[in-house]
Amino acid sequence: MKRFSFLELAKNAFNAHQNWGRQWRAPEPKAEYDIVIVGAGGHGLATAYYLAKEHGMKNIAVIEKGWLGGGNTGRNTTIVRSNYLWEESAALYNHAVNLWQGLSTDLNYNVMYSARGVMMLAHTVHDIQVFKRHIHANRLAGVQNEWLSPEAAKDYCPPLNIEKNIRYPVMGAALQRVGGTARHDAVAWGYARAADDMGVDIIQNCAVTGIRRGIDGAVEGVETAKGFIKAKKVGVVAAGHTSVLMDMVGVRMPLESNPLQALVSEPVKPAFPCVVMSNTIHAYISQSDKGELVIGAGTDQFVSYSQTGGIHITTHTIDAICELFPMFRRMRMLRNWGGIVDNTPDRSPIIGKTPVPGLFVNCGWGTGGFKATPGSGHVFAHTIAKDEPHPINAPFTLDRFRTGRLIDEAAAAAVAH
């Protein structure tokens, strides 16, 4: 791998940037791997990267049905934050935020992490109570979060309308200053390039069609479009398609897959300094470095794998954006799209072992998985390598739905369900 540096950039400038070379190989699958990761999204690639980097595993493949980073990794609204309520979640998401801080250096790839602040708006007395509870819980757990008056919120984000005459006036806001955005594609590419450099085979356009088990019940490998691939351990990191993959080994999951939509506007000059979210009237918005407004809408109410969503869901969000930010009323939207998110009943992820020996699962990130990408990959790699969970993901078992130790984050999820 050619390391990116100022010197390298200067050298390549002399030959019109023609000799940068491929960022990762396109290998044919080997007959056997120690570990096969199913799904080359951010979480899957991060898992492979940390397996190679921190656990010395060399014989790893990441198998992907489409192209890497082409699912929810390339479809989300790129928000990073860790202001979740419970200690278990705060530890998990804060682990990710800590890794985000040094990720560009670690990967030698600019993931454009920008801690521009995430502000969550309160519009009702109930919102104020819930957010203040979150702030207190966060501060006790060592997670940054603070309360702003409507005026302070407007100072932080000048386009915000805090007039009292709108349908849901802004009554205050919770601000997490270390929250922000990162470039989603760059995260996938950075992990792919760094993992590939350590010998991880990333096999794209190769759908997994079955998971084979031996007579002892343990995983033997995966059936794919390119034939059978033997594997000692298999990690499923397939987001919305987790239920479909786990069904291949007869494991029923507490998941429902729904389309979640996002949209972007035409690009404009920098006008929007932070990320603003409103759970109550359902809008979240930030401005990308290209200048587009990136807007997140809600999920459809029914199970679907369509990767599109109802137009009434996006118009509902646009209504809220127009009321909160009147200056955007005449903006034109360029594209909208949907991704399939896997929601758990308690809106917390499942990261750990399954009833099938050698089979691991990392799923249930629902509407907010992007922010956790580095942390998720890091603890999942530990779980696979050591055959036991990292202390941070120990509470996030599949078994919690049997024991009843749920981690209820319905109020912290950005999308109202």
Binding site: M253, L255, T403
Partner: protein, 101 residues
């Protein structure tokens, strides 16, 4: 937005009049005190979530207000069948074969 046929009203209406209430034909255990933790997890949380035909409950919440069931294909979102609450679950495999034929 989906167009949904309400079997009680006998009309096709936009999705915004309806609320989806998840997987159909999940029956609450008759004798809860005898259930194991596994059975409770199954009843409360485990869902089919198929990529294909799915039987689910809908409620015509802004219309007649009644619950009914529907079979829908979860990739195209097309409704294959709607039927009143209390009617037996259709044979989804047979329906899938019929559709592919």
């Amino acid at each position: 937005m989906l167009l949904i046929h309400c079997p009680y009203c006998g009309v096709e209406r936009p999705e915004t009049e309806f609320a989806c209430r998840g997987e159909a034909h999940i029956i609450r255990p008759a004798d809860p005190s005898t259930q194991t933790d596994e059975q409770w997890a199954e009843f409360l949380y485990l869902r089919e979530n198929p990529k294909g035909l799915y039987a689910e409950r809908w409620r015509h919440i802004h219309g007649c207000g009644r619950f009914f069931n529907a079979v829908r294909e979860t990739v195209s979102d097309k409704f294959v069948k709607v039927y009143k609450a209390g009617e037996p679950k259709p044979d989804l495999e047979a329906l899938a074969k019929e559709m592919s034929a």
